[in-house]
């Protein structure tokens, strides 16, 4: 099954919740990243003139994903950009997980981009990354 995400109708009324899943750790990271990006703007309407490379490492996979998704929100505010694509590599070396990612996007432009929610952050409410029947799944609630 391909990696996927879907926004949820009946969770966190005032905010924005989604489920993401994939066959591998890397796939669920990619799907969750795509959901955060799409919560803020339609990537199809965003150019590719800004890039930022990021690296994170840690033994707790859920914390690694949480910090990475929070990093996407950080760059939205700190650089004033929205995102068109992300390339992620997640590898394991002993007990440590390593994430290397490249975010691509462009400065916010009301005239050309379909802007959505100004996500303020990723929350720990209902946050759970787990493997279920061989499939990696995570539920995330974004504070908007």
């Amino acid at each position: 099954m391909p990696a996927s995400f879907r926004f949820l109708d009946d969770v966190a009324l005032a905010d924005l919740a989604f489920d993401a899943e994939g066959d591998t750790v890397q796939e669920v990271f990619e799907a969750a990243s795509q959901a955060v990006m799409e919560a803020m703007a339609d990537p199809e309407t965003v150019g590719a003139i800004w890039t930022r490379r990021a690296e994170h490492a840690g033994s707790d996979l859920a914390e690694l994903l949480f910090d990475w998704l929070s990093g996407i929100v950080y760059w939205k505010d700190a650089a004033g950009v929205v995102f068109s694509r992300v390339a992620i590599s997640v590898t394991q070396a002993g007990a440590e997980w390593r994430l290397a990612a490249t975010l691509t996007g462009e400065p916010v432009n009301r005239a050309t981009q379909e802007l959505r929610n100004d996500v303020k952050g990723v929350t720990k409410h209902l946050y759970r990354l787990h493997q279920d029947n061989g499939r990696w799944r995570v539920r995330v609630v974004l504070d908007v």
């Binding site: 005032a14 505010d77 700190a78 004033g80 400065p107 959505r116 929610n117 100004d118 952050g121």
Partner: protein, 483 residues
Amino acid sequence: MKLHTAMKVNRISDEIWEIPVTQKPGMLVPARIYGTESILQAMDTGVFEQVTNVACLPGIRRYALCMPDGHWGYGFPIGGVAAFDVRSGIISPGGVGYDVNCGMRLIRTDLTLAEVQPRLDLLMTELFRRVPAGVGASGFVSMDRPSFDRVMTKGARWCIEQGYGWHRDLERIEQGGCLPGADPSKVSDHAVQRGMNQLGTLGSGNHYLEVQVVSNDRIFDPETAAAFGITGQDQIVVMVHCGSRGFGHQVAGDYLKVFEKAMRRHGIAVKDQQLACAPFLSEEGQDYFSAMNCAANTAFANRQVITHQIRQAFAAVFGRSAEEMGMELVYDVAHNIAKVERYPEGELVVHRKGATRAFGPGSQDLPACYQSVGQPVICGGSMETGSYLLVGTTRATDETFGSTMHGSGRTMSRTQAKKSIRGEQLQQQMKQRGILVKAVSMSGLAEEAGFAYKNISEVVESVDRAGITKKVAELRPIGNIKG
């Protein structure tokens, strides 16, 4: 009575309900929920679970409270109020909210609907241009780190020094728009980088700038209204709802992580990870309080810069100065905050999350102009219905640590609202009803449709009947700006 909880809920009065300490292991005080029976019946399970979780936190005094606009939140319910002993109690970011000092501001004018209506389109366009909203918006104030440090410590006072407002504005802002004890060294670089360019911006979600009208038949207390500068006669007022933006969120997120570790060291166990807390007088507790005050001051400054831009927009459209149009501040009040206040029990750290301070007449914390009537309380409804101006009472001071409701509260998720209506369709429907909406995001607009919110009038009636605030006037929207 059918409720979304199996807990025993006792009727104290028609508007006050109590969950005894026997209903959950670890409760130190009872939980009290304000609201009519029908409001209580509509409350989600989260309210009952969360308000009783709060009742278990160390050092809590009297009651864990929830206002009638309460609904599920992170840690505390939205609408939650709790006070903790300064010496033995805690402070929790989950009791303040991620958007530190999210709050309401109301500006009066001498203009009438008849004067504004012909130029409403132009006015909303000018406001939309001058007050950036939506994803990644940055304000017009250029800011370097030393300047931002001064914003964090001085709040709205910094704005007045820079010419963004009038000196007399300060006395009509909660605590003069400047909370003491703000220490920028307790704020992370990440938070600063997120916040530095956002001064004077609205954000998105349920934040807005609204042009409203006050008609004579919607003034409930003419004497208090007059003291607030509200005279009716189709008078135009402007309401602003926003907070500390990404900056406040980063402060809250940073300290939730700190507190998760600190709790183990201090031997504190909580029922929900989002209630992470630390003893108020511990190093971690004081660091968070200092950082939270920085975020709160930044929010006061944010609303002050927006006020300056609103006055400029009105002056440009109507060709008169803001002073000539009587654009005085009615009040600015936080609804996501923790403050040290004195009560009969002593000094308490009062957490208000989605709850508004509502001090009654005679409070030393009120400016001279409001001493005899009480504090203005500004409550925002959905963009389609209307909002309310209320006044604080001594009963609130006695019963609810001087606190009341803050808004109407959602009943439908954002995703579901978007499936029910398109933004363009909603914008057109509202125009036909005489409400002009400018929005950065059409999908964001659909999420804020009136049907996604509770009926604010019922919520207001319940706090009025409970006596913790009294109705002064209803404010009807004619123009709205959303992110």
